[in-house]
Subunit: 223 residues, 2 copies
């Protein structure tokens, strides 16, 4: 398809498509004449992914570029690629230096990860995100006491394992040592991006709706 049809089918204006091409977010089309290029279904899928990362994930263009360059580079392993996506997601929390509450929360996070036997890099931003929430919870006398951190973690890990296993329809038991094809790899990463960014929104929204319903039942409802 030509760029005009790509624009029409994706809903992305032509100048924006040209910007993505210049920035390397979108791979060039196949040249059919000096000033013409032919685009195909992968371009359409990539455009929709970029829009979702921008509009739903609210990622900056530099982060999207880093993710997309990894997607196009077969030397970057799948686990590292998924890490690029996840580590780009906000909010980014910077621990204050020499704060004993933070050091204590950080130790709590490390102990939880060790206790569960999870494999997590030391630089994972989710460590600081979790520690920051724990610091704030510990400082509030009135934090809810009903659910423990470990119970939450076990509950969440079941969902996460299903999510990772379900991305892109990867077969449940891939042959060990076999290299996934480039197309499979693209599907896995695109699916993982959608899963990480969009299902996080789905979970947040569902939790809020479920809380409103539970509050209505508990505190007597609207009025």
């Amino acid at each position: 398809m030509q760029v005009s049809e790509l624009s029409r089918r994706s809903g992305v204006p032509i100048p924006t498509i040209k910007y993505y091409l210049r920035e390397g977010l979108l791979p060039p089309g196949a040249a059919t004449a000096a000033t013409r290029a032919e685009y195909s279904e992968p371009h359409l899928r990539r455009l929709r992914l970029i829009r979702a990362l921008l509009e739903i994930g609210e990622l900056p263009v530099t982060s999207i570029k880093h993710i997309v360059s990894g997607l196009d580079d077969a030397a970057v392993g799948l686990h590292d690629l998924l890490g690029r996506v996840q580590y780009a997601l906000g909010p980014q929390v910077s621990p204050p230096a020499d704060d004993p509450d933070w050091q204590s929360a950080d130790a709590e996070v490390t102990a939880l990860i060790d206790d569960l036997g999870w494999i997590i890099t030391p630089e994972a931003p989710a460590r600081a995100l979790l520690a920051g929430a724990l610091v704030a919870l510990h400082r509030l006398d009135s934090a809810p006491q009903g659910l423990g951190l470990r119970e939450y973690a076990v509950e969440v890990s079941r969902v996460a394992a299903l999510e990772v296993a379900s991305v892109g329809g990867v077969p449940p038991e891939p042959p060990p040592g076999e290299t996934a094809s480039v197309a499979d790899r693209t599907a896995v990463v695109e699916s993982a991006v959608a899963g990480m960014v969009l299902y996080e929104q789905v979970l947040i929204a569902l939790r809020r709706l479920a809380q409103e319903d539970a509050s209505a039942a508990w505190f007597g409802g609207p009025g």
Copy 2:
């Protein structure tokens, strides 16, 4: 305690405390002389709540003011108060007018809520948050297919029911028609705020950590 001790114990600078007093976020202390006021433990707790809402919840001051004014106004019911908190939380999503994908996603959200029998106001922002994520998911060919929306919702509602029941140590079966005391009510709302804002961060962080671990197991780990 005097304002200097309030500042020291809360870690909030005195000029910031005075700003909160002027804005009505913090109730005035008891006047002990023309230029002196005495503050107590509730001030300390309120300050910590304000900081958590600002720094972790990232709420604007106007939203915090709306929440705090409801907290101090006994005429505002508990369910409405919890709604004020939740409806102030971002991200706020505005549906585009006349977009058939949005109308379809919105109908899907309404059908899910009806199907589950949840009691949710028509203006709940989480409806649009969920519909926006669904629109983006439907537009991606490669969205993960492993988990259905209803399964997520049922899973999440179990956690939400426990969370609402656990806020502030409310007894599991409060006598019907009985009015909670002002202190209990404050504890419920403060606890709910912490639960909504901070446990959302806890859940997001735990989900990301659990995904990293699941990805290491599935895709062969770091390296």
